[in-house]
Symmetry: D2
Subunit: 287 residues, 4 copies
C-alpha cells in the first residue's frame, strides 16, 4: 500500500480536526494556520518549509482559494500563495479540495484533483450534522417548543429523513410536502403525514426546506405570514424565493455553512474519513 505524506493547507477549524484524524493513519503536517489558532491540546507539527522532502498529497479547504487566488487561510495572518504550495508538493500530487475550480487545476496541471464535496460518502455522513445544525437554529429562533409544533419538511432525501428522525424524538407534529402518490407512500414509510405541495397553507410553525428546486415561489409564500419560521438548507439557489420572502416580511433563515459552523469537529472528521476512503480506493486501483 502506498503511504501518503499529507499536507493540510489552509482552512478553518474543520481542517484542523481533519488533520488530527488523518494523522492517526498518515504522516500529516499543517500549513496556513497561526500557531495560536490551534487548540491547546494539539500537537500536529507544522510543515518544515525549508525541508527538501515533498508531500504527495494536499488537502485544501472549502473553498480552496480566496478572492486573490491564494490558498484560503482564515486562521492565518500570513498569505499562502499557490506558488508556495507548489514548492511543497511532489510533481504529481493528489490534491483534495472542496469546490475545486479552474484556477486550481491550472496551477497544478499534473495533479490528480478530487473534489471531496462530490463524494457520496461525505454527503451521506454530512446529513446528520446538517440536520442537527438546522434543529439547533430552530431551537434558538423559536419561542415555543418543538414538542407539539406543526413542522413541515420539504424533501425526503438524506437531510429530510435525518431531520424527521430528530424531530420525532422531540415529539413534533411532522408533515412532508409531496408531489405524487409515490411521495405520499414514502412519507408514510417514515411515519409522517403527507401534504401535496399544491395544498400547502399557513398552519406550520416551522418549515425546513431541503429540496434544491424552487418550491416556495411568490404565490406559495403569499399563503404564509411571519408566524412561520422558514429554514432553507438547500444549496443555492435553494427552494425559497429570497426576494419574495423579504418583500412579504417572512422569517427566513438561509442556513449556509452547516455543519461546518455548528459541528466543526464532526465535520472535519467526516472530511478526513472521506479522504481516507478515497485514498484507499486509489491504492486498490493501483494494486
Amino acid at each position: 500500500m502506498n503511504k501518503y505524506r499529507i499536507l493540510i493547507a489552509g482552512g478553518d477549524m474543520r481542517q484542523i480536526y481533519c488533520a488530527k484524524r488523518l494523522s492517526q493513519e498518515f504522516e500529516t503536517k499543517l500549513i496556513g494556520f497561526d500557531r495560536d489558532s490551534l487548540p491547546d491540546e494539539f500537537e500536529l507539527p507544522f510543515a518544515d518549509i525549508s525541508s527538501p522532502k515533498k508531500y504527495d498529497c494536499a488537502v485544501l479547504p472549502v473553498p480552496p482559494l480566496d478572492d486573490k487566488g491564494n490558498i484560503y487561510t482564515p486562521c492565518s495572518s500570513e498569505t499562502l500563495t499557490l506558488q508556495a504550495l507548489q514548492g511543497l508538493l511532489t510533481e504529481k500530487p493528489v490534491i483534495f479540495a472542496g469546490k475545486a475550480n479552474e484556477k486550481l487545476k491550472k496551477a497544478f496541471p499534473n495533479a490528480i484533483i478530487s473534489d471531496y464535496l462530490l463524494s457520496e460518502e461525505l454527503n451521506i455522513k454530512n446529513a446528520v450534522p446538517t440536520a442537527e445544525g438546522a434543529v439547533q437554529l430552530a431551537l434558538e429562533e423559536l419561542p415555543v417548543t418543538l414538542n407539539g409544533l406543526k413542522v413541515l419538511v420539504v424533501g425526503m432525501g438524506r437531510i429530510g429523513t435525518a431531520l424527521v428522525r430528530i424531530l420525532q424524538g422531540f415529539g413534533a407534529d411532522i408533515s412532508a410536502a409531496v408531489h405524487s402518490p409515490r411521495g405520499a407512500a414514502k412519507a408514510r414509510l417514515y411515519g409522517v403525514k403527507a401534504v401535496p405541495t399544491k395544498r400547502l397553507g399557513n398552519n406550520y410553525g416551522l418549515v425546513f426546506n431541503t429540496a434544491p428546486k424552487l418550491i416556495f415561489d411568490r404565490s406559495t409564500l403569499e399563503k404564509f405570514d411571519d408566524r412561520t419560521l422558514f429554514i432553507d438548507l438547500a444549496s443555492k439557489p435553494g427552494g425559497i424565493d429570497f426576494e419574495a420572502a423579504l418583500n412579504l416580511g417572512l422569517k427566513v433563515i438561509w442556513a449556509l455553512g452547516l455543519p461546518g459552523k455548528t459541528a466543526p469537529v464532526t465535520s472535519g472528521e467526516i472530511i478526513a474519513e472521506t479522504i481516507s476512503s478515497m485514498l484507499a480506493e486509489r491504492s486498490d486501483d493501483i494494486e
Copy 2:
C-alpha cells in the same frame, strides 16, 4: 374524467378489501368469491353475469391464474374460466394483475395489462406491512424480548429501514450489514451500527435478510448456529442458501406471502390505492 366500471375477479381476502376501498370511488363488482367467504358487514354486490353491461376494468389477484389456466379463486368453490371473464369485459379493457403472465396476455390481446406488483407506489407502501409481519414472526418465534436483543438487518432499502424504525421502538440493539464506506455512512444515518459483510459472526439473536442477492452462502452460514433466528424477506432466490442452512441445522423462516397473510386489510387497501393512482394517471394521459 373517465369513470371506470371495475370487476374484481378472484383472489383471497386482500382482493375483497381492495374491492371495498375501490367501491368508494368506482362502481365495483365481485366475481369468483363464494357468498359465505365474505365478512358479514360486506355489501359489495356480485356481478350480474346475465347483464349485457360490460366492465372496462378488471382486477385479478396474485397470481392471476391457477395451475389449470383458470382465474385463481381460492375463496370460491366454482371455477372461473378465462372465457367467462372475457364475456364480462369490454373489447379493450384495462386489466390489473399481480405477476401478469403470457397466458393472460394471449387471452386478452386487446387489453392494456398492468402488473400492480411492479408499481413503485405499491412497493413503497408494502414495506411497512411487510416489516410489521416480519416483526410479528420474530415475536412469535423468539423466547426472549426484542428489547436488548442483538439484531442484524441485511439490506438498507425500504423494508430494511422500515424494520429499523420498528426495532428501535422495541429498544433492540441493531446492526446493519454493509459493503462499503458509503453503506456504513448510511447505517449511521439510520442510527444503527455498521458491520462489514465479511466480518459477520455468530453473535446475533435475530437476522432479517431483505437483500435479494445471496449474502448468506454456506461459508457465511457456517459461522452461525441454532441460537440465531434467520428471517428471509427477500423474494426468491433470497439471500440465504436454503440447502446449506438446512444441512447446518439453522433456524430459518422464509417469510413468503407477507403482508397478505399478516395484514390482509391493509394489503388490499394498498392494491386499491395503487390501482386508483394508475387509473388517474391513465386519465391524465388521455386528457
Copy 3:
C-alpha cells in the same frame, strides 16, 4: 458473603431459564422436571435426593402449589410433595415463591418466605416483556397494520409507557386516556394525545388497558363495537367489565400469563436477577 445452595423446585420453562441464570452465580440444582422436558443444551444437574447435603434456598414457581397442595410441576410426570421438599432443605431455608400462600407458610414455619412477584425490580423489568407480548397479540389479531392505526392506551404506568415506546416505533396514532390536567400533562410528556376518560368513543382500532381499576364499565363499552380490539393487561378484576363486553359482542383479549408465555427465557432471567438482588440484600443486612 453467604453463598447459597439453591434448589429450583417445579414450574415451567421460566424456572429452567431462571435456574440457568442463577447457576452462573450459585450452586443450583433442579427438582420437579422430567429430563426430557429440558432443552438439549442444558447441563443443569438434578438434585441428588439421597444426598445428606441440604439446600438453604428454594425457588418455587408461580403459583407454588397445585390444586392438591403439592409443588406445581407442569413439566414433570411425577408428584413432588411438600414433605419431599422439606427433606431437601435446611431447617431455616430462604424460600422464593410467586403468590406465596398460607399452605406454604404452614409447611415451612421456620422459613423466610419471599414473594418475588411483589418485588419492584421484577415488576419494572417485566413491563417490557409484557408490553412486547401485548403487541404480539395485537399483531396476530389485527388484519391491519399498527402503522397509522388509532390506538388508545389506558394507564400511563410502567406497562403503559413501555407500550407507548413500542407503538411509536410502529408509527401508530396513540392517545392516552386521562383523568386530570396532571394526566394530560403526563401524556404530553410521553408524546401522545390526551383524551379525557369521560369522552372516550368508538374511534380506536385497538385499546390496551393497563389500569387495574374498572374503566370500561357497561356504559363506556356501549360506545364501542366490534371494530375495536381490546387487550386487557391489568391483573384481575382488570379494567374491562367481562360480562358486559361478552354481551355486547366486543372483541376482548384477557392477556394473562404474559410475559411467561411469550418470552419465557427473558421472564425466567428476570426472576433469577430479582432473586439474586434479594439474596444480595439479605447478605448486606447480615454483614
Copy 4:
C-alpha cells in the same frame, strides 16, 4: 361558575404570553409593562388604574417581588408598589405567584396565595421545554454531533426521561447513572444503559444532571477532564460541586431559568394552563 377578572402584574415575556392565553377564558388586563415591550400583534388592554372596578385575581411573576419589595417588573420603566397593587384588587383576592414569600403574604393577609411553581401539572409540563432548552445548550456548546455521542443522564425523573426521548431521536449513545437494581431496571425500561453511580468515569462527551442531590462531589469530578461538558438542570444547590468543578477546570453550565429563556411562549402558556386548572378546582370546591 365563578368568572374571575384577572390582573397580570409584572414579569417578563412569559407573563405576557400567560396573559394572552388566559384572556381566551377570562377578562384579563395587564399592569407593570411598558407598552413598547409588548409584541406588535398584542391587543391585551392595560388595566385602567382610575376605574373603581377591582380584580379578584392577580398573577405575579417569578419571583413576585424585586430587591426593594416592589413587584418585579423587568419590562417596565416605572415602579409598581405593593400598595398600588392592593388598590387594584378586591378584599379577598386569589393571588398566584412563583416563589411566594413572607413579604407578599404580609401585604395581602386576606388573600388566598398559591405558588404555581409548586403545581405538579406545571412541573410535569415544564419537563419537556426544560429538556429542549438543555439540548439547545448542548448543541450550541458542543463542536461534535449528538449523534453517536456518549451521553450520561443523571436522574430518571420527568426531565431525565424527557431528555432521553429527545436524545434517542438524535441517535445519542445514552447511559443513565443508577443507584440500585431497581434503578437499573428502570433504565432498561427507557431503553438506555445503566451505569452504577460508583463506577462513573471519564468517557462521556456530555453529562446532564437532573438530580437535586450532590452526585458529582470532588472525588467523582476528579475522574473527569475538560473533554466532558456538564449541564446541571437541578435546582440549587444542584448535583455538581460548583467550586470543585471550577478548581478542576471542568466545563460546567448551570442551566438556570430554563425554560423561561429558551421557550418563553410555551412557558407562559404552561403557567396560564396551570392557573386555569387551579381556578377550575377552586370553583369545583365552591360548588
